[in-house]
């Protein structure tokens, strides 16, 4: 993992103080409230959060996919030197697919049902490059081989509905890579897939990232899937990144109470039968009326009066690991304690065995 050396060069994705507000309903909804995110070339960052945490909204902002009239986007988004929020409509169309492209959760909805997959890839290549249809089709075929679609020649002429779920997701990845983008945005790409297919797609993404030097922003609610692909974790809650750091650090040593609680709420591995899961009380806050203090305060076990006063700033914990929390000391203790507890039980287990 050479993230540190890559960090020296300028990041390929740089988001500063992003705020996204939707004005469609009765009350404006603040879906994203000040997100800062940098992604280096060749790095995979996982944006993790529950529904309504703003992870997909952040991702879609990178391609400006939100309806223009009902959305207010503030802040600054720079991808490969382009100021995304300032692009005109023509420049935006050039940017989408060529610099950054996206794969979606449900390929059956994302692909056009009335064209073959091959036609869609050829169209996309010819929109960005002046090459002959035959040439473009050759490129499409190469892409299909690259994403390991069996009998690719025949599959190019298939309609999306004729393919299986895993195959469709591979086809969509091929489409996203058609114009050789530098940044791949993945919005829950494996959530709709079966377990045995999900791992195949995760491994494919990892391989492509290594071979093509792609920067990947991977949005998911599944920590397990994120661990398989990501160099860095960014955990979102109520429209902010509450904790960020190298995957290993965040998994082993979570310092925001929300991340900690999420890790403990997982029914994972060899849990004792009948043991209760550590659940997080309550529900995520209403994005139309966010509290003035920390958004997680009312569900947090470590809450103090100060938490309700203002939104906490990021606390640097070393090695690029930071958490927006006033109580990182308390979580550090809790993590150390649970580590001791597991060590103790394993000693007990070996003794009894």
């Amino acid at each position: 993992m050479n993230t540190a050396s890559r960090a020296d060069s300028a990041p390929i994705v740089s988001v500063r103080d992003l705020r996204v507000t939707f004005n469609g309903g009765k009350k404006p909804v603040s879906a994203v409230n000040g997100v800062d995110l940098s992604v280096a070339r060749g790095e995979t960052v996982a944006l993790i959060g529950e529904s309504g945490s703003g992870k997909s909204v952040t991702l879609r902002s990178l391609l400006r996919l939100h309806p223009e009239r009902r959305t207010r986007i503030e802040g600054r988004i720079e991808v490969a030197g382009e100021d995304v929020l300032a692009l005109g409509s023509r420049a935006l169309a050039d940017y989408r697919g060529r610099v950054a492209s996206m794969i979606f959760q449900e390929p059956l909805l994302a692909l056009d049902p009335v064209y073959t997959v091959g036609q869609q890839i050829v169209e996309s290549i010819r929109r960005h490059e002046r090459i002959s249809p035959a040439e473009a089709r050759k490129r499409a075929l190469e892409l299909f081989e690259r994403v390991r679609i069996p009998s690719p020649e025949r599959r190019l002429d298939a309609y999306p509905h004729e393919m299986s779920g895993g195959m469709r997701q591979r086809a969509m990845i091929a489409l996203a890579l058609a114009c050789r983008p530098q940044v791949l945005l993945a919005d829950e790409p494996t959530t709709a897939l079966d377990a045995t297919v999900q791992i195949q797609i995760l491994l494919l993404l990892r391989e492509l990232q290594r071979e093509l030097g792609l920067a990947i922003v991977f949005v998911t609610h599944d920590m397990g899937a994120a661990v398989e692909v990501a160099d860095r974790f960014a955990v979102m809650y109520a429209g902010r990144i509450v904790e960020e750091g190298p995957t290993r650090e965040v998994i082993r040593n979570p310092r925001h109470p929300y991340t900690l609680a999420l890790m403990q709420a997982r029914a994972d591995g060899a849990m004792e039968k009948g043991a209760r899961l550590a659940s997080i009380p309550g529900a995520p806050p209403d994005l139309a009326q966010l509290p003035t203090g920390c958004a997680f305060a009312e569900r947090c076990t470590f809450v103090q009066p100060a938490c309700l006063q203002s939104r906490p700033e990021a606390v640097e914990l070393g090695g690029g690991h930071r958490a927006r929390c006033l109580r990182t000391d308390a979580t550090a203790q809790a993590v150390a304690q649970s580590a001791r507890a597991t060590a103790n039980t394993s000693i007990l287990l070996t003794e009894t065995a």
Partner: protein
């Protein structure tokens, strides 16, 4: 059996136990469901046509008071099985025996069976009537079964309280006014309103966020204890299935691949498909990432399932015999496996070694 019938005649309550705690609460024998595909005129005349073999000969039992987890990929027939158990769709063949009585027989009419078996669905929103308040939704079932209205409402309010929704605040709300986790609590309360013995949970927590999922799982465990329930828990999430189940059944393309106690099955899977499924779970350890996928490709189409063992097209241990002979479920030490490797004398080269190992132990 003759005793059972005579008891029925002298009018003992239908939910009393037959055969004591050792008798399974639910026994399923040779359950089959084939869905017809659209046929052309010629096919109709000739009486042929393709069918989706969604469930193709499934046998299992659910013991009293246990949680049976059902896992498998999409198209394996786990949800169809649940719908067949509820008689939401009619089986093509097979019988369901509940508490010693065949479902649909005069001794156990469908209406009485449905009171004792309830279901919670994955989509918490579409499974509630949007025009009824949640209190009315919960009280509806008992009224159909003859409970007076006032009593049904009292029962509904008690259940709301029990699933953690303060009746004074929530009883008059409509489904769209609740969050996903709250709606799923309402669905659970509604399932319990008829005082069932078996609750079928079809991906009941799959649509919930992790933090809310843990709350609902805890609630389900508490309710099971309190009301002495039996669960059939269908899930694609193996972690959750392992956590909540006493026994787990693994399905593949409309057939049972393996059944066994949860811990034993997860620690020592016998069927090659179970092994592949388990090793496809992400590791949660950044230093031990998965390097190779256990299986290539997608599950085959249940319209034309492979001959012989259904898994042989993707199985790393497949041999010629696997495409010719379909394995049957073999029981050994409370575990059932449908794999030729575990069938002595099947002709699979591993079968002899396995048999020898069993003999040695």
């Amino acid at each position: 059996m003759s005793i059972g019938i005579s008891i029925e005649h002298i009018g003992v309550a239908a939910d009393s136990d037959r055969g004591g705690p050792a008798q399974p609460l639910l026994t399923v024998n040779g359950l089959v469901k084939h869905f017809d595909l659209k046929k052309g005129f010629v096919d109709t005349v000739m009486g042929r046509g393709k069918v989706v073999r969604a469930v193709d000969g499934v046998d299992f039992r659910i013991l009293k008071g246990e949680t049976l987890g059902v896992v498998g990929e999409s198209g394996c027939g786990k949800s169809t099985t649940a719908r067949l158990l509820m008689h939401l769709i009619d089986p093509s063949a097979g019988e369901i025996v509940f508490n010693g009585e065949t479902v649909g027989s005069p001794a156990l009419p469908l209406r009485e069976y449905r009171r004792q078996v309830q279901m919670v669905f994955q989509d918490s929103y579409s499974s509630l009537n949007p025009r009824l308040t949640i209190q009315d939704s919960i009280a509806f079932g008992p009224q159909v079964h003859g409970v007076p209205k006032q009593e049904a409402i009292t029962r509904a309010r008690n259940l709301l309280e029990r699933v953690g929704l303060e009746p004074r605040r929530f009883a008059g709300r409509y489904p769209h006014e609740l969050s996903g986790g709250q709606r799923q609590r309402v669905n659970i309360a509604r399932a319990l309103a008829c005082e069932p013995r078996l609750v079928i949970l079809d991906e009941a927590v799959s649509a919930l966020d992790k933090s809310v999922e843990a709350q609902v799982l805890n609630l389900l465990m508490d309710l099971k204890e309190e009301f002495g329930l039996t669960y059939l828990f269908i899930s694609h999430d193996l972690h959750v299935a392992r956590y909540i189940s006493d026994r787990v059944m693994v399905m593949y393309l409309g057939k049972v691949a393996e059944t066994g106690p949860a811990e034993a099955l997860f620690e020592q899977p016998l069927h090659p498909y179970t092994r592949a499924l388990l090793s496809s779970m992400p590791s949660m350890d950044p230093d031990r990432r998965t390097e190779e996928a256990a299986l290539a490709g997608d599950p085959p189409n249940p319209i034309d399932p492979p001959p012989g063992c259904r898994f042989h097209t993707r199985c790393p241990l497949a041999e010629a015999v696997c495409s010719q002979r379909a394995p049957s479920l073999k029981t050994r030490q409370r575990r059932e496996t449908a794999c030729l490797i575990h069938e002595p004398g099947s002709g699979h080269s591993h079968a002899a070694a396995v048999a020898a190992a069993v003999h040695a132990s």
